[in-house]
Symmetry: C2
Subunit: 620 residues, 2 copies
């Protein structure tokens, strides 16, 4: 057993209600680290092309990492990994809050769910004791209500992860939520629908157990040093949140506007993080479990049509996808949408994409008032956003179609409707435009979970024109419209590094905040916790292994070069905005990228590549 | 009635066997000219998104043009227009030989088929007299056999258009054939399957009627002048056929090799038109009805495994699609495939694409020996090509799947199989690689019938680095890797001009042969025949109208920007060959192209554009 881990992952068979313990060998931990890597390892061994994501044969992993439950700064996230009902491929979502930290305090490293329960169930892990309880009384509750119930039941130290009505209704982009009104979400690729299909309403963890670490004394010093550095270097983030740079982002052409058709939103200053703070909408900053940065927002709207009690405010992605992309330039309207998504358990990114899809289809005459049950879907209209989000979560009327995701909705409507779906491999775009940077284009096209800004996390490099290298890459200037080797190498290495971070389950803002010090800091932390002196090269190799494992799983499911593409909307030149008329040229980069990765012309990892990474088992 | 026309198009209702005459107003003829334009006009008025291409509600037009039956050089082609079973969109095929000329001699301008017959029928038009005969005895015959029967029945002056077993079996890329062993084909987009669905086996035309022309004396002089010019300027073509330039084409990177994965075939000299002539395989050149060029090939193989009696030899497209693209560098093997396609009535281009699909899928392990009924599909293997072509025509075993076209076959096989389908909008690629010239990329992506080299016909401009302008465009140098306005304008104007040529039903080699004299020559001919002094601008406007009419029909069927794309294979950089590592950048050109055409961001002709071209009726 490695420091930072209990060596105790629960395996819960929901069909039989059998609970067993499972641990991983040091070799597996060293290769897959935790979180995303370990989850993918489990799912790839137990599911395949024929697995129905919403069938009992699917396997759902909720995994912490080596840093969770220690005081390692920004190391308390968790990863949910399972076969996605939205993409039909390997899916995963990542969340902060206190769940991962408290799951460790409860004495476990993670939970692997198999089978499916007949009745709704609630799982409790209390200082190592596990129980499966009937949740008939909880089914139907929104995530805020449910968390209040749990606090009443278990006290303030509990932490609950749950699905809302959207997950119960198998909305394909339903989000797993945790920490109640603090609104933390493992949002992407529809993880909550899988939980819903297994009839798991919620998981509550509590306890006061602490995982052992290799060098407690050393760790204390290292934690102090890096926590201080992180806190000192993140004042802007703490004050203004992730939405701080909305105006800069818009100026670069990176902000989504009108379902990605436009390049500018002149009033975007009204929805920036700075405005959120200065206008008094912001009540305070929010810190996740082991966080030293505090990018989270807590807002309150006292009165008016969008009044809401104190709760999580929108982060940058939500400002983009429920704001500018819907032609909304009012923070209160964005918060209304954000709050509905958090309560009902919807991914704000995909839900925003689905609403944008509906609005454009309505404008183009593909969706009619009749098809909307007499309602409308008008750009920028708050009431239309409100009813659409509820209709999706409840699968009412047109919401039932939109709940399938924009790719499926486009295909079902037929004709030109697929035009309005802005997605890769079925996953809707986050709020960064690939036309504003070639590395995002390549990253979206090749990401192992579909259109994802965090799989490579190179948009800051693109938009600022360079990177510190973060201790795992060279310090370099970067031309965001380069479509050659510089972009391919940058994107590939950052994909590997981010796969590693999602496996360590550390926050990516730690990377951005620490800059060139990042990798060194986390090498030190890792050594003090796990006792392993892993080099940066070994970490990157683990990341590479995890990326290739995920790709191999996708290939099993039929993914190949044909799927490594951007949607038609990205072929639309915008003539306004900071990215000029650039359109992404993914195609010229694919061969370079495949060569760089050791993949064949179809985008399949070669036998040699899989062997080099000890992944031969995936071939079987 | 306009000179060059009888004003008598037959309308045959195959369900009721009712035959009526139909003529078009001068206004309609001036706007849609004939052939392709007039056919599209009829089909667009009578079918739509819901029309089943293989149902009795589909309408099939076999249309001549104003020059057919006169002595206007190279003006004796015909166009078949109907809703395509291969693409589900408007489809059309164009053929030479003597059918169009003799259809005019028989006293009619064209035939519009509606409904469907219960029993196989044979249509005879003899000096204006029309009869519908039972064809129970003809059904099942190959096109060579059938033509022999017709010559016995009607004498040597008859000309027959027919479908082979492939058309009877509704193979989605079955070709309508005419002139028996001379092997002329209206090949693309599966026109013969529609004929098969209507149970029309064949149409025989004969007679000695001549359409009146406006200025017989003047015409005689003009014909003499331009026939002489055409004959004098086409010696190479006559001697070596369209395959003359195989080596040059290969050197530019334009030749398809190994299902478009490779950029070079060093032994391609063995399959050039020059080799065909010099080796003695060629018996003589073949001239279509009003032809002065003689690019057609007549070959004979006396002995050996590929022995064949005197018949049509392969033209360039067939050399590419049944040769280099299958890794075949032996002209006799290509001729074997060509002969099977002509007899069975298959489009050599799409059939070659289907065989290439099977070969690559077999190599990649997606098609197994078991799925091939114990047979194999090996690159360059003559016997494998033979059995595959027959299996497709007969819909036997895997042939039944391949007969659906590569797009459908890819989708049905699933997984990575769509990778192997090299098509646009369901139509397989002809033998010109868009990586060798950006104008081909844009033309394939936006062509109104799918991947078509003749809709813009700019590959010679791209490969030679300039154009004479052919009298309708400026004389200009051209950089084949330009992806901006020069390419957009060139492609758009040549699309319009080629739509006009397909409506005049003149041969495109007349354009290439006459160079800058082309438009002037055909303006003169048109005036002498029709009596109308149409300017080049008016001709181009007719072409533009026809392109927009076809696009509007496609839009009705759901086509939009999302469909204006090239297949995944075109994203594959080749590192060998004369096109370097260029991959086509269609995307940056689409907005420029749409703007240039007056189409909206979805690629739909705007209301203003349709109104300007008197196409408002298409909106209804």
């Amino acid at each position: 057993m490695t420091g930072g881990y209990w060596g105790k992952t629960l395996r819960i068979n929901l069909t039989t209600k059998e609970i067993t313990n499972e641990s991983f060998s040091d070799d597996v931990l060293r290769k897959y680290i935790g979180g995303s890597g370990l989850g993918a390892y489990v799912v790839a061994r137990e599911t395949g092309a024929d697995t129905d994501p919403l069938g009992p044969e699917n396997v759902l992993c909720v995994m912490s990492g080596p840093f969770a439950g220690t005081r390692a700064p920004n190391g308390g996230r968790y990863q949910v990994v399972t076969k996605s009902p939205l993409t039909g491929l390997l899916g995963e979502g990542n969340s902060g809050g206190t769940f991962s930290t408290k799951m460790k305090y409860a004495g476990i490293d993670g939970i692997i769910f198999t089978g499916a329960s007949d009745n709704p169930v609630h799982i409790v892990v209390d200082n190592g004791k596990v129980s499966i309880e009937d949740a008939g009384d909880l089914w139907g509750m929104d995530t805020f209500e449910l968390d209040d119930v749990m606090t009443e039941r278990y006290g303030k130290k509990q932490c609950t992860l749950s699905i809302g009505p959207a997950g119960e209704n198998l909305v394909k982009f339903a989000a797993i939520m945790n920490d109640g009104k603090d609104g933390r979400a493992a949002a992407r690729t529809g993880m909550a629908a899988v939980m819903g299909s297994k009839k798991v309403k919620s998981i509550t963890v509590l306890g006061n157990m602490k995982p052992e670490v290799a060098d407690p004394e050393g760790l204390r010093e290292i934690v102090k040093k890096w926590s201080k550095a992180l806190a000192e270097r993140s004042e802007g983030m703490r004050k203004y949140g992730t939405g701080e740079a909305v105006e800069f982002i818009e100026a670069t052409g990176d902000l989504p506007v009108k379902n990605w058709a436009e390049g500018q939103l002149p009033t975007c200053g009204q929805i920036s993080g700075i405005t959120m703070t200065e206008s008094g909408l912001l009540k305070k900053s929010y810190f996740c479990g082991q966080c030293t940065i505090g990018c989270g927002r807590v807002v309150e709207i006292k009165e008016g049509p969008y009044a809401c009690e104190e709760q999580a405010g929108p982060e940058y992605e939500t400002i983009g996808t429920l704001g500018s992309n819907l032609m909304v330039d009012d923070l209160e309207v964005i918060q209304m949408g954000n709050s509905i998504c958090n309560k009902m358990g919807l991914d704000t990114i995909s839900a925003g994409g689905a609403v944008a899809f509906a609005m454009e289809a309505y404008e183009a005459g593909v969706l009619t008032k009749e098809m909307l049950g007499g309602k409308e879907a008008r750009w920028g209209n708050a009431e239309d956003i409100r009813w659409l989000l509820y209709a999706i979560a409840r699968r009412e009327g047109i919401g039932d179609l939109l709940a399938e995701g924009t790719k499926a909705a486009g295909q079902k409507l037929g004709g030109m409707a697929p035009e309005f779906a802005v997605e890769v491999k079925g996953l809707e775009f986050p709020a960064h435009d690939p036309r504003a940077g070639s590395t995002m284009a390549l990253a979206y096209a090749t990401s192992t979970r579909g259109a994802c800004h965090l799989n490579a996390n190179t948009h800051p490099t693109a938009l600022t024109g360079g990177t510190s290298g973060h201790g795992f890459y060279k310090e370099t200037e970067y031309d965001r419209f380069d479509f050659g080797d510089a972009t391919v190498e940058l994107t590939r290495v950052y994909q590997d590094a981010n796969a590693m971070m999602d496996s360590m389950t550390i926050c990516k803002f730690a990377m951005e905040t620490l800059g060139a010090d990042f990798m060194g800091a986390y090498n030190e932390l890792f050594k003090a916790i796990c006792g392993w002196d892993m080099t940066t090269e070994e970490f990157l190799e683990s990341g590479e292994r995890i990326v290739n494992l995920k790709r191999a799983f996708q290939v099993r499911c039929g993914v190949s070069r044909k799927d490594d593409r951007l949607p038609p909307r990205m072929t639309k030149r915008r003539v306004n905005g900071g990215a000029g008329d650039h359109v992404p040229k993914v195609e010229p980069m694919l061969d370079l990228y495949y060569d760089n990765r050791g993949w064949d012309m179809y985008g399949r990892p070669t036998k040699e590549t899989l062997e080099r990474l000890d992944l031969s088992w995936v071939l079987d």
